[in-house]
């Protein structure tokens, strides 16, 4: 009996050793797999797309010592319209896509559908879509390095770039372009016109960020505290325990969680497409403009000889009627149009009507 017991005991011990061995091997495999396959969060292309300086397949131009993500549609013989996205820090993805249609690739040669968004204007205009430095697929810049003056210089250089290109290719010497800006892009182009009124023919503004402190003060915006109970806000905050904001890629990746919900009065649909939300550009340009107590980009607009078209979404409630009237009256000559049943991204929700309104205005 005792021999049997010893044998059984030995067998149990052997089994235990085997089990322990299996566990150790399993952990070894697990850690081995982790050690071999782990990726770097900070490497562009893993969590967020690479920018034009790192991805040669993306369309780009070189301006003032930096590359910018930019592409054009249409015949350069036609009048030029430059489209500027908002954020600050977002891209023109929504400008060339449309709601309820599969988002098209950021690589022009991989797109299956064409002429979906504002690029429908290419039959009458030479449409230029670009992202300012630090925004979208244009290169990243460290926080604290971007200024509105730099943005003015860049836009000035971009206008010159395309006017020169037009002259070189067609012999036509134009001195002005049309500008179109969405949200912060509207504030940006207005700030530019305020400085260089002679370089712009007409301007189209899609629900621009308040153009003056006076308008900003009447902006209707739900406070962060009131949103603490909302699911997206909890996801946004709770996930901060999973990645810190010290690196461009991590910050850009995380910020997208707040993209469509952080300003409910703007009535963003959840599925507005985006390539990258440049956080550094967002912080710097916000600090340079609408977060300043003394900001005003309208003081010299009376020198602007062109016309302004303001377009708003019918569902947007960030400015009441008085606020909207105050906003549009900053331009000496203006028109206003509303796209019904749309929000802040009216140009993506109903590009057909948006395009028709722009055509009527520019004719």
């Amino acid at each position: 009996m005792s021999i049997l017991k010893i044998k059984e005991s030995n067998k149990k011990t052997t089994n235990k050793c085997m089990n322990m061995k299996k566990i150790i091997i399993a952990f070894g495999v697990l850690f081995g797999t982790y050690a071999c396959n782990k990726m770097d969060m900070d490497e562009p292309g893993n969590l967020v797309p690479k920018t034009v300086d790192l991805d040669a397949q993306l369309p780009a131009i070189s301006i003032n010592g930096t590359m910018l993500h930019a592409e054009t549609f249409g015949d350069i013989n036609n009048p030029i319209i430059l489209f500027v996205p908002g954020g600050p820090g977002t891209d023109y993805c929504a400008f060339i896509n449309r709601q309820n249609t599969q988002k098209q690739s950021r690589y022009p040669n991989k797109r299956e559908l064409h002429n979906l968004g504002l690029n429908q204007l290419q039959d009458e205009y030479y449409c230029v879509f670009f992202e300012p430095r630090g925004a979208g697929l244009s290169p990243r810049f460290d926080k604290g390095t971007l200024t509105i003056e730099q943005y003015h210089d860049d836009l000035d250089a971009i206008i010159d770039y395309y006017l020169t290109k037009k002259f070189n290719e067609t012999g036509t010497l134009d001195s002005k372009v049309h500008l179109a800006g969405h949200s912060f892009g509207g504030l940006y182009v207005t700030s530019f016109i305020n400085q260089f009124p002679e370089k712009v023919q007409d301007v189209i503004l899609f629900e621009p960020t308040p153009l003056s402190k006076e308008v900003f003060d009447v902006l209707i915006q739900t406070s962060v505290f009131a949103m603490l109970d909302e699911e997206w806000m909890n996801e946004y905050l709770y996930s901060l325990d999973h990645l810190s904001y010290d690196d461009h890629c991590r910050a850009d990746y995380h910020r997208i969680l707040g993209f469509s919900n952080s300003f409910p009065e703007l009535e963003y649909p959840e599925d507005v497409p985006l390539w990258r939300y440049g956080v550094s550009a967002n912080i710097d340009l916000a600090n340079e403009t609408f977060l300043r107590d003394d900001y005003d980009v309208t003081s010299n607009l009376n020198q602007f000889e062109g016309r302004a078209l303001f377009i708003k979404g019918g569902n947007t409630s960030a400015l009441d009627e008085d606020g909207w009237n105050l906003q549009i009256s900053h331009y000496p000559v203006y028109e206003s149009a509303t796209i019904p049943n749309t929000g802040h991204y009216m140009l993506w929700e109903n590009p057909d009507l948006t395009v028709n309104i722009i055509r009527d205005f520019l004719q």
Binding site: T33, Y34, N37, K38, M39, D40, M41, D42, G45, N46, L47, V48, P49, Q102, K103, S105, K143, L228, D229, E230, E231, W232, M233, N234, E235, Y236, L237, Y238, S239, L240, D241, H242, L243, S244, Y245, D246, D247, R250, A251, Y253, H254, I256, L257, E270, D271, V272, P273, L274, W275, I283
Partner: protein, 221 residues
């Protein structure tokens, strides 16, 4: 995932909360507690701690386990589990320095991605400890050393189709500096309050709540 959670929960039944003061827990060496606060959103936690006297080195040691979840996203898809210990390094006439180390794993499910994180946190308490109360300043550093990221269909459809799923390093870390105080009522009821300011490891922006606040109630037995 369920198995992992079961293991963590089982292990947690062997452990702590934190501070209440490690220096006076000889008579009742087990504590269960509940904690509620903003860190970085509304979070509810439950935990257990067990204290030991380490006679050979004349130190007191506390082991703890804690499970927490944000109240709005409550459940197994959004949680953090911590296992750790705390030891009093220095003790002199009521003044003391305690050191706290914990390992944590947590999961968050968002519209864009799911993340399973692994992290270590160090925390130092420098303060004055009496039998029934204490007050300390605290400094904490949490390093996230691995995340398993899985992207949602939404993220692939509307943001970045080629986003890579898998294990990542380099998620960074955060510091938190604050004040913590606590009292013990009738030898068995602990109340603690802590307020701390988070900042990323490069002292850049944390980008969430500017301050974290926690209230803890514990029962000793």
């Amino acid at each position: 995932m369920k198995n992992l959670l079961a293991v963590i929960l089982t292990l947690m039944c062997i452990h702590f909360s934190y501070s209440q003061n490690i220096l006076n827990i000889e008579e009742r060496n087990k504590t269960v507690y509940s904690k509620f606060g903003i860190e970085p959103t509304y979070v509810l936690a439950v935990g257990y701690m067990h204290s030991f006297s380490l006679e050979k080195i004349n130190r007191k040691f506390v082991l703890f386990g804690e499970m927490s979840s944000p109240t709005k996203l409550f459940g197994v898809k959004n949680y953090e589990a911590k296992l750790g210990g705390m030891i009093n390094l220095i003790e002199h006439k009521g003044f003391g320095i305690n050191y706290h180390l914990n390992f944590s794993t947590g999961h968050v499910e968002t519209k864009n991605f799911d993340s399973q994180k692994m992290a270590f946190a160090n925390k130092l308490f420098l303060g004055y400890f009496k039998r029934k109360w204490y007050i300390t300043i605290t400094g904490e550093y949490e390093k996230i050393y691995a995340n398993k990221i899985v992207h949602s269909e939404y993220y692939r459809d509307f943001i970045f189709p080629e986003a890579k799923d898998g294990w990542y390093n380099g998620a960074g870390g955060n510091f938190q500096f604050g004040i913590e105080t606590g009292i013990t009522i009738k030898e068995y009821l602990d109340i603690q309050l802590e307020i701390k300011m988070p900042v990323s490891e490069k002292f850049d922006s944390y980008n969430g709540s500017p301050a974290h606040l926690n209230l803890l109630l514990g029962y000793r037995f």
